[in-house]
């Protein structure tokens, strides 16, 4: 966890560098989430002030978009594709395996803070379905075995 003073500085820097863009709110939110992993509630007033919006408006935007999160993610986020092409190649069985292995459902984080699980509706890797993203890495032709081998390696290096 970062100190709130440190968060303030980071957020002020991001706001200052982006606020003059036309339609600056999304770039600012991306900037904050890139740096902090989420958009802490205490950053909303500063964003609202800089863009001359109400806090409710800023909050409304954050909550509208699936990608923005208001709580810290686990150390590694697992994105599983739930869309049709991946379903045609066994995404549902993979999804059941992953939920069982991590012991969490979508939008949850493991108790030890190691993994968050999020659904994704197509990664554009449909020709190598089923696909998933673990951290920054993309995987095609995914399977329970592939998932386990990646996760086990990740845990071993943690």
């Amino acid at each position: 966890m970062r100190e709130s003073g440190a968060i303030d500085t980071i957020v002020q820097d991001i706001i200052a560098s982006l606020k003059d863009l036309p339609g600056a709110l999304l770039p600012i939110l991306h900037g904050i989430q890139d740096k902090l992993g989420y958009i802490p509630a205490e950053t909303v007033p500063a964003i609202a002030k800089a863009l001359n919006l109400s806090r409710a408006e800023v909050h409304g935007v954050i909550s509208f978009y699936h990608y923005f999160r208001e709580t810290p993610p686990g150390k590694t986020t697992v994105h599983l594709c739930r869309a049709e092409s991946c379903q045609a190649k066994g995404a549902k069985a993979l999804e059941a395996h992953v939920k069982n292995k991590l012991g969490i459902d979508y939008h949850e984080t493991t108790a030890d803070g190691a993994f968050s699980l999020e659904p994704v509706y197509c990664l554009g890797l449909c020709s190598v379905s089923p696909s998933m993203q673990i951290g920054e890495e993309l995987y095609g032709h995914s399977s329970a075995e592939l998932f386990d081998s990646i996760i086990n390696a990740e845990e071993a290096s943690a």
């Binding site: 036309p22 339609g23 600056a24 709110l25 999304l26 770039p27 939110l29 991306h30 863009l51 409304g60 935007v61 509208f64 978009y65 699936h66 990608y67 923005f68 869309a83 049709e84 092409s85 991946c86 379903q87 045609a88 190649k89 994704v120 509706y121 197509c122 990664l123 554009g124 890797l125 449909c126 020709s127 190598v128 379905s129 696909s131 920054e136 993309l138 995987y139 095609g140 032709h141």
Partner: protein, 517 residues
């Protein structure tokens, strides 16, 4: 001598290990003292062969695939850098039937060039369209686009020339070009392949659009799920600026065009053009009522062209070779070529760019090789999550906008997802409703509440509760969605749902009904 080795940097190839293969090839070459130039090209689109490694020889490029790290040493043993024989040899890449039979116009360079090399782009006929356009009036440029017969490739198939003409003729001190790079449809990846494999062609297309209608600012609205495309676009933008292809004085013409990439945030509805503009303006992506049309009052209230990636990436070749050249491909009112995307349960998935008019069956079997599982293909969803499910009896439909519309199906963005006979179509129908529920922007009641109700009703049907009441209720609900929704998310969710119900009633526990919607 230095040997040129190509290993795709395309996300699909990377997802199958291309980065690791590239690292291994580099390391092995160093170890053996062999000089290589490694190019991270785009993907040729033969995705069952990825990672597909190629090497340049005097006779052409020789391919090997699919290559894993464990194959690298033996490839060097076989002297692959000069095209030596190996168990993974595929011969001359251009001679593979899957590729050879295609008609690649928009994808002419993809998989061939170094995507972020401006020199390579120019050496392969890049920026010829822009150079022609700079010598024309806006009206002449628009006329070429109109004459080409190009219709928007993003889904609605609206004639691109007409849209451009409206923006051209709407006076304003500021106009915008937006590239819709939100590609949220399942089974589609052609936009991604263009942005990763040939970003300059999109940049050139947008620049031509700007010059044609007098727009000086462009935005590429890119979905956040495409980090590789983001990197490639930004690298290409930087080079285009540095060489004077973008900015205040394009190639010394005195014309100005600036271009920037903006990221979405995981909302499917932001692919709809009006909610996309709301999102670009920094708001929630709620759909706007039309009229006014974006062409008249769009981004920040100014005249705006919103076009799909493929639509814009098709413009350079039209301006290079002329509208008629492009129009000579295709059938009926569907002119030019369509990059089709084969996915799902298919043996040879990938990208096939070909003139409109081939049948779905030819695509599925001659290119796709049938299902990957070896079982019969039971249903095919064409046109993304809002597209109809087509049964075997409709596989002879030609790939043409009107032929699809005539059987209550949609060609959309050209994504084709195959399912074998283990699929449960009632389950797929429920998923379609659930998708509408998750992605609804919430502005209108039929979509916001109807989709939630729809999931419940289909669940009741799947669990066999009161079919005599629930099946008509589902049809009724679909009718409300069809007629009462503001945009195609609510308005087209009935396509997958009702097509599943009509063509596969047995999966819903009911006997066939004659009244196909």
């Amino acid at each position: 001598m230095t040997h040129t080795v190509y290993i795709p940097g395309d996300a699909a190839a990377v997802a199958l290990g291309a980065d690791r293969v590239a690292a291994a090839v580099k390391q092995e070459a160093e170890k053996r003292g062999i000089k290589i130039k490694l190019v991270r090209n785009g993907s040729r689109g033969l995705h069952w062969l990825e990672p597909l490694l190629e090497v340049g020889t005097p006779n052409g490029r020789i391919a090997y695939g699919p290559v894993q790290v464990k194959d690298v040493a033996s490839l060097f043993d076989a002297n692959f850098v000069t095209g030596g024989k190996h168990a993974l040899s595929l011969g001359l890449i251009e001679e593979l039937p899957y590729l050879k039979k295609q008609q690649r116009l928009t994808f002419q360079r993809i998989g061939i060039t170094d995507p972020v090399s401006l020199d390579d782009y120019i050496a392969h006929d890049g920026y010829r369209g822009l150079k022609n356009a700079l010598g024309m009036t806006g009206a002449d440029i628009v006329k070429h686009v109109t004459d080409s017969g190009l219709r928007g490739r993003g889904g609605a198939a609206f004639p691109t020339g007409i849209k451009w003409n409206t923006v051209l003729n709407t006076p304003s001190e500021q106009k915008y070009i937006i590239c819709n790079a939100d590609e949220g449809d399942s089974g589609t990846f052609s936009d991604r392949m263009v942005m990763e494999g040939d970003p300059f062609v999109l940049i050139e297309g947008m620049t031509i659009a700007g010059i044609a209608v007098g727009a000086t600012q462009g935005y590429i609205y890119l979905r956040v799920e495409y980090p590789h495309a983001h990197k490639a676009l930004n690298a290409a933008l930087q080079k285009a600026y540095a060489a004077g292809y973008l900015g205040g004085n394009i190639l010394g013409s005195g014309k100005k065009f600036d271009l920037e990439v903006r990221l979405g945030a995981g909302a499917y509805i932001c692919g709809e053009e009006t909610s996309l503009m709301e999102s670009l303006e920094g708001k929630r992506g709620l759909v706007r009522f039309k009229p006014p049309l974006p062409a008249i009052s769009g981004l920040f209230g100014k005249p705006t062209i919103v076009n799909n990636v493929i639509s814009l990436a098709s413009v350079p070749i039209i301006l290079d070779k002329g509208g008629e050249f492009y129009r000579d491909y295709g059938m009926g009112r569907s002119r030019g070529t369509l990059p089709l995307q084969l996915a799902g349960n298919i043996k040879y998935p990938g990208l096939v760019e070909i003139a409109f008019g081939m049948t779905l069956r030819e695509l599925l079997y001659d290119y796709g090789g049938g299902s990957a599982s070896g079982r019969p293909i039971k249903a095919v969803q064409v046109g993304g999550p809002l597209g109809a499910y087509m049964p075997e009896s409709q596989f002879d439909t030609p790939l043409d906008y009107e032929a699809f519309a005539a059987i209550w199906a949609v060609l959309g963005h050209g994504g084709v997802v195959a399912f074998d006979d283990t699929v449960d179509m009632a389950d797929m129908a429920r998923y379609s409703m659930e998708f509408c529920k998750i992605e609804s922007c919430g502005k209108c009641t039929p979509c916001r509440i109807g989709s939630t109700r729809g999931v419940e009703v289909i669940t009741d049907i799947i669990e066999g509760r009161d079919l005599a009441k629930n099946v008509p209720l589902l049809r009724d609900l679909c009718n409300t969605l069809l007629n009462g929704s503001l945009c195609a998310l609510g308005g087209m969710t009935p396509y997958p749902v009702l097509s599943a119900l009509n063509h596969f009633p047995e999966d819903f526990g009911i006997a066939g009904q004659a009244d196909a919607a």
